[in-house]
């Protein structure tokens, strides 16, 4: 698979509220980039612009050198909230991603079954979303996103609503699936540890409004990684300390403004 660079250079705003200032960020092919920042700084807004769900007021997002117009077809998007269709079973939720692309139903179902097995959900095909736990729903969403074989992956605090253990587990599931073909990833999170454990590069965003990028840190931890065990390494702590220095200042700004 060939991945060209994802060039993102834009500014976005809603009404008079300037959510994001001028942000320049490029994600190279095969690169896993995590964005961390205080709550409400516009991290998700950035993702929505790349996805083509939101039009920037200034600048533009480019995917594979082409400016984003309408929904970005090459992108897979993992949402923070539940985005599965509650009226479809786990299997149908995954299969429909292929069916809308013109794959015959029988073939789509077979591949969906295969994908559910890959995310560890064999035997849960006939369950409806409300019959699945939070972690299981995320696994279905992951399969639904990946079955289309998107060229780039956008993730908006996907594991945010999960409990700590499930979150760590899902990190591993994600790294496992990702390492197969190493697509370019833009991963938004407020959890610094999660960002370092998963990413090649961590980008710190400033407090909003008019948020911008404050600093970037290359995570030089070796791959393949175990999303849990990597947290015990000394290099991990050094990185965490360095990035937290930048992040803390921004978080404090947010709190200062609120109080």
């Amino acid at each position: 698979m060939e991945l060209a660079g994802v060039g993102v250079a834009f500014g976005a705003g809603q009404n008079a509220f300037r959510a994001v200032g001028r942000v320049d960020l490029a994600v190279a092919p095969h690169e896993f980039v995590a964005i961390v920042g205080p709550t409400g700084c516009g991290k998700s807004t950035l993702l929505n612009v790349v996805a083509g769900l939101l039009a920037p007021v200034e600048g533009e997002a480019r995917v594979f050198g082409r400016p984003v117009r309408g929904v970005t077809r090459e992108a897979g998007y993992l949402f923070q909230q539940d985005a599965l269709m509650p009226w479809k079973t786990a299997l149908d939720n995954v299969a429909v991603a292929l069916e809308v692309g013109g794959v015959a139903r029988a073939a789509a179902l077979a591949r969906a079954r295969d994908w559910l097995a890959r995310v560890g959900l064999s035997g849960f095909e006939a369950r409806y979303p409300h019959q699945l736990s939070g972690g299981q729903k995320k696994r279905v969403a992951l399969a639904q996103m990946l079955i289309r074989d998107p060229k780039i992956l956008l993730m908006d605090e996907p594991f945010g609503p999960l409990d700590a253990q499930t979150r760590a587990l899902m990190g591993d599931v994600l790294l496992d699936l990702w390492s197969a073909d190493r697509k370019a990833v833009l991963f938004v999170t407020h959890d610094l540890e999660e960002a370092i454990a998963l990413a090649d590069r961590v980008v710190v965003m400033s407090a909003g409004p008019a948020a911008r990028l404050v600093s970037q840190h290359v995570v030089d931890l070796p791959r393949p990684r175990d999303a849990n065990e990597v947290r015990l390494e000394p290099r991990f702590h050094a990185l965490q300390k360095a990035i937290w220095e930048d992040l803390r200042a921004e978080v404090l700004k947010t709190y200062g403004r609120a109080s």
Partner: protein
């Protein structure tokens, strides 16, 4: 309370009420039994009349007519409600223009329309269908409209990211979302279709359960009125059971529906 005990208590309530009714109609305990019989008939007479309805088979014609009217009012009213509901949800400007008129039409007590419908559609089935339609339409319309408007923006965004085009969004997202709202009001819309049919028959018809009751009333045949009401009540319960069954089958994906099973 166990199922058996519950059933026992329920039967006891019915037995006591019927016993009181019987005593009042046959003894002087609650006054002159002749007066009581004139106003309330007797349980024995009502039971005999109901038995007679089915033994002679005279009731089937009326049941069939009422069922026909109910089903037609429900189907046509729902179809129109779904169509207009979707149209208005997709075209907010049109919805804004028509909003006061819809509110006005919905505010009108539908019974006053019955004479007009008789005039337009005659005394047959269609004037009752029209009355039921005006009741069903608004329930379905408001629910579908709401269902389309309240479609989760996250599910919608996700569906678009999965590459769905306009028609696919309709089929996989908007339609099921609207249907779930519509089905949640299935009991009231079917119930109102029946109300339209019976009230229409009551006000002028040549057949149907409402007609049967009205006829009996016209000649002070209280036994006939009570027997007709009894058949009507059982008929409504049967229809409601069918709706519950359909609902559980169609909304298995809903947490509440699954729990009820």
């Amino acid at each position: 309370m166990s199922r058996g005990a519950l059933l026992g208590w329920r039967l006891a309530v019915a037995a006591i009420l019927i016993a009181l009714w019987h005593i009042a109609a046959n003894t002087t305990l609650f006054g002159d039994p002749k007066t009581v019989r004139f106003f309330f008939s007797t349980p024995g007479d009502v039971a005999a009349r109901v038995w007679n309805f089915f033994a002679t088979g005279s009731i089937w014609k009326h049941l069939w007519i009422t069922l026909q009217e109910t089903v037609l009012a429900f189907v046509i009213g729902s179809a129109a409600g779904i169509l207009i509901g979707f149209a208005f949800a997709m075209a907010p400007r049109v919805a804004a223009v028509f909003d006061p008129y819809l509110k006005m039409a919905n505010a009108l007590p539908r019974v006053v329309l019955a004479p007009i419908f008789m005039l337009w559609f005659g005394l047959g089935v269609w004037s009752k269908v029209a009355l039921g339609f005006t009741l069903v339409f608004f329930i379905v319309f408001f629910n579908v409209y709401q269902g389309v408007k309240e479609t989760s923006p996250v599910i919608l965004a996700n569906a678009r990211m999965l590459g769905m085009n306009g028609w696919q969004l309709f089929r996989h997202v908007y339609w099921p979302s609207a249907m779930s709202w519509m089905f949640s009001s299935l009991h009231s819309s079917v119930g109102f279709a029946l109300v339209g049919a019976v009230v229409g028959e009551y006000l002028g018809a040549a057949a149907g359960l409402g007609y049967l009751i009205h006829e009996a009333e016209g000649v002070f045949d209280v036994t006939g009125v009570f027997a007709g009401m009894f058949v009507l009540a059982v008929f409504v319960i049967l229809i409601d059971q069918i709706v519950t069954f359909a609902e559980n089958r169609l909304l298995v994906w809903r947490p509440e529906a699954a729990q009820r099973q």
